[in-house]
C-alpha cells in the first residue's frame, strides 16, 4: 500500500518547490530502498550499510553545509524534511544521518581547523568515512559535565583515557568526535579508528533501534596527535551545541515516524471489520485517530516554525528542547496507541508500528530525555534551575 503522508493543515502550501522536491526525493529513496529491507534489518539487528553510498550520492549526509565541502547547502526546512522522511522509514537510518550530519560534521565545520574541514567534511559527505560522537559515559548520561574521560597534554601529543557508552555508529565509525576533559575543561578530539588502545565493541541484543549500530568506546592510553584537537571551542557548550543541531533533526524525524504509524493505523482501521463494521467507525477508535492527527498536525507546525527561526538565526536551544520533547513524546504515544488499534496484528512484524514504537523509546531517551528537556525549558521560563 502506497504511503500517504498526513497533511491536515495543508503545510504543503508553505513549502517552496525545492523543499517539496527534496522531500519527494527522500520519500522515494526510502520507499524504494529502505522499505523493502527494513523488516529484515530490524529482525536481524543489522544496519543497512549498503544504503550509505546511495544516501550519500543523493546528498543526505551533511546537507546543510556549504558546497565547497561537497554538501548541498540546504535551508533548515529542507534539512528538517530529510529527517522527517528518513524516520518515516526507520529511526535507525535517521539516527545515522543525524549523527553524521549534526554530531560529527557540525563540530568539525564549526570548531575545526581549515585542514580538518578540508580533510574530513568531503569524506563524511560522500560516505567514504563514517563518524560517531562520544559524549555519554556509563556513569554520566543526563549529566555529561561530570564526565571522567580525560586527555593529558604530553608535549607532542595528547594521551586519552576513559570510556563512552551508547554511541551510535561506534563500531562502524572511521572517526570518533570524543569529548574529554583537558586540564578540567571539556574539549573535542578527533580519534580515528585503529589507534592503539582504542576499541569500539558493539552493544548487542537491543530491543530498540535494532537497525542501527550502538557501541561502547574504550580508550586506554590512546595517543592523539596535537592537530586532532578541535581548537574552536572549550567547555560543555561545545558538545551541547552539537546536540542542538541533532535535536532539531530529531524533532522533525519523530513526526515522520508518527506519520508512518498514523498512515498504517488509519488504513487498518478502515478495513478491519468487527461487529459488522470497520473498527474506524467506532467512536472510541475515532477518538484515538483524531487525537493522533491533531498531535501530528501540531508537531508539524511546531517544527515548521522552528525551521523559520533557525534560518533567521533566531532559534535558541530551548526552542529546540520544546520541539524535541513535544514531538518525540507525542510520536511515542501515537505509536503506543496505534499499536493498540492494530490488535493482535500490531505485535506481528508484518506491521511497522511496533518497530517505530520500540525505536521511539530510544529517541525519547537520547539527545536529552523527555524530562531533562522539561528541566531545560523550566529553567528558561522561571530562571530557576531544577536539575539538582
Amino acid at each position: 500500500m502506497a504511503y500517504k503522508a498526513l497533511d491536515y493543515y495543508l503545510i504543503e502550501d508553505l513549502l517552496t518547490e525545492e523543499e517539496r522536491m527534496v522531500r519527494d526525493t527522500v520519500r522515494e529513496f526510502v520507499t524504494d530502498n529502505l522499505m523493502p529491507i527494513i523488516e529484515e534489518c530490524n529482525r536481524t539487528a543489522r544496519f543497512p550499510m549498503e544504503l550509505i553510498p546511495k544516501a550519500a550520492g543523493l546528498g543526505l549526509l551533511g546537507a546543510p553545509y556549504p558546497e565547497e565541502y561537497g554538501c548541498a547547502n540546504l535551508n533548515a526546512i529542507a534539512y528538517g524534511l530529510i529527517n522527517q522522511e528518513l524516520e518515516r522509514g526507520d529511526s535507525g537510518l535517521r539516527s545515522f544521518v543525524s549523527v553524521q550530519t549534526g554530531l560529527v560534521m557540525y563540530p568539525i565545520f564549526s570548531y575545526g581547523t581549515e585542514e580538518q574541514k578540508k580533510y574530513w567534511l568531503p569524506k563524511l559527505a560522500s560516505g567514504e568515512k563514517i563518524g560517531c560522537y562520544g559524549l555519554t559515559e556509563p556513569d554520566f548520561g543526563s549529566n555529561p559535565g561530570g564526565m571522567l574521560t580525560r586527555a593529558e597534554d604530553k608535549g607532542d601529543h595528547y594521551l586519552l583515557n576513559g570510556s563512552k557508552a551508547w554511541i551510535t555508529n561506534g563500531t562502524i565509525a572511521d572517526v570518533a568526535v570524543v569529548w574529554a576533559k583537558l586540564d578540567g575543561e571539556v574539549r573535542g578530539f578527533l580519534v580515528e579508528k585503529g589507534r592503539e588502545g582504542f576499541e569500539a565493541p558493539e552493544i548487542k541484543n537491543k530491543f530498540s533501534l535494532r537497525a542501527s549500530v550502538t557501541s561502547d568506546l574504550i580508550f586506554q592510553d590512546v595517543r592523539i596527535p596535537k592537530e586532532n584537537i578541535l581548537p574552536g571551542v572549550k567547555g560543555l557548550k561545545g558538545p551541547l551545541s552539537c546536540l542542538t543541531q541533532a535535536r532539531y533533526g530529531i524533532a522533525w524525524g519523530a513526526m515522520g515516524a508518527a506519520m508512518a504509524v498514523y498512515d498504517e493505523v488509519l488504513s487498518y482501521g478502515k478495513s478491519r471489520i468487527q461487529f459488522d463494521r470497520p473498527i474506524a467507525g467506532f467512536q472510541l477508535v475515532q477518538n484515538k485517530l483524531v487525537w493522533m492527527a491533531t498531535e501530528i498536525t501540531k508537531g508539524q507546525l511546531l517544527v515548521y516554525r522552528l525551521a523559520q527561526l533557525k534560518d533567521a538565526k533566531r532559534m535558541r536551544p530551548q526552542h529546540v528542547s520544546l520541539a524535541k520533547r513535544n514531538n518525540v513524546g507525542a510520536a511515542l504515544e501515537i505509536a503506543r496507541v496505534g499499536r493498540d488499534i492494530l490488535g493482535a496484528n500490531g505485535i506481528s512484524n508484518e506491521y511497522q508500528t511496533f518497530r517505530h514504537m520500540n525505536n521511539l523509546e530510544s529517541v525519547n531517551t537520547y539527545e536529552g530525555t523527555f524530562d531533562i528537556h522539561t528541566l531545560i525549558i523550566g529553567e528558561d521560563l522561571t530562571g530557576i534551575a531544577a536539575y539538582t
Partner: protein, 249 residues
C-alpha cells in the same frame, strides 16, 4: 554531444482519474504532476551519453501549461542543462504536439533527440516518431539498450521472442522503453542547482488540431463475483459455468 529530450508532464499513476464536467477532459484539480516515467528513461540516457562524451548539453523540451515548469525543473535537478517550456494547451493530437516541439528544436544544434516511447496518459506511442518524420531524421523506437559507435548508435529493441539490434547514424530520434536504464534520483545538490539553470518559455505553434477527444468514459463497473460453492462438490457447477457462461473452456 548535444541532446534534446522531449518530456511530458503526466498525472501521477496513483492519482484517481475522473472525467471533468464537459465529459471530454480529465479533472485536473487534485492531480499531482510527475515526469512521464518513459521520459525519465530518456533523460537518464541523455545524461549518461553526455557524461560519457565528456561534453555537450542536454536540453529538455516540454509542451503544456502551468504544470510544465515543475516537470522541467525535475529533469534539470536530475542533471539536464536547460529547459524549453513550449507553452500551449495539452492535447491528444500527436501531430500538433509533434509540430510544436519541432518548432522549438528546429534550427538548433543537436546530435540526438530522445523521448519516452509513450506517455502513460494518452498512450499514443506517436510523438517521437512524428518528430523524426517532420525533421526528416532516422528513428528507432522502443529501445532497451543504447550504445555509441564510431558512426552512430547501436540500439537494441525488444521484439516478440527476441532482440532486434539495429544501427542508425546521427542525428536520430530514439524512443525509450522500460529497461533502458535505471533513472537516477535528483540529488539535493541537483535540486538546488536546478533553479539557477536556464528555462526559456516559448509559445506553442502547433497548427491545426485535427484529432479531438469527444468523450472520456469511465470503465463500466465490473460485475460482482459469484461464489458457486465450496470444496470439491462445487467443481462440476464451476466447470459448467466456465464452459457455458464465461466460455473459457
Amino acid at each position: 554531444m548535444n541532446i534534446f529530450v522531449l518530456i511530458k508532464a503526466v498525472a501521477d499513476s496513483e492519482a484517481t482519474i475522473r472525467p471533468a464536467a464537459d465529459g471530454k477532459n480529465v479533472k485536473l484539480d487534485d492531480i499531482t504532476w510527475v515526469l512521464n516515467p518513459f521520459d525519465e528513461y530518456a533523460v537518464e540516457e541523455a545524461l549518461k551519453l553526455k557524461e560519457a562524451a565528456g561534453e555537450g548539453e542536454v536540453t529538455v523540451v516540454c509542451n503544456g501549461g502551468d504544470e510544465v515548469p515543475k516537470i522541467i525543473r525535475t529533469a534539470l535537478a536530475m542533471g539536464a542543462d536547460r529547459g524549453i517550456h513550449v507553452n500551449g494547451p495539452r492535447s491528444f493530437d500527436a501531430l500538433s504536439i509533434a509540430k510544436s516541439l519541432v518548432n522549438a528544436i528546429q534550427g538548433k544544434e543537436y546530435d540526438l533527440i530522445l523521448c519516452g516511447k509513450s506517455a502513460i496518459d494518452h498512450d499514443n506511442n506517436a510523438v517521437g516518431t512524428m518528430v523524426a518524420e517532420l525533421l526528416d531524421l532516422p528513428s528507432v523506437s522502443f529501445v532497451v539498450k543504447l550504445e555509441k559507435t564510431a558512426t552512430g548508435l547501436k540500439c537494441e529493441r525488444e521484439i516478440e521472442g527476441g532482440l532486434l539490434v539495429v544501427e542508425t547514424p546521427l542525428p536520430a530520434v530514439i524512443t525509450a522503453q522500460k529497461g533502458l536504464n535505471e533513472p537516477r534520483y535528483a540529488s539535493l545538490k541537483g535540486i538546488m542547482a536546478a533553479k539557477k539553470k536556464p528555462l526559456e518559455t516559448i509559445d506553442a505553434k502547433s497548427g491545426e488540431v485535427q484529432v479531438e477527444v469527444i468523450a472520456i468514459e469511465p470503465r463500466p463497473p465490473r460485475a460482482p463475483g459469484e461464489i458457486i460453492g465450496e470444496g470439491v462438490d462445487a467443481v462440476p457447477a464451476l466447470i459448467k459455468k466456465l464452459r457455458e457462461e464465461a466460455k473459457v473452456l
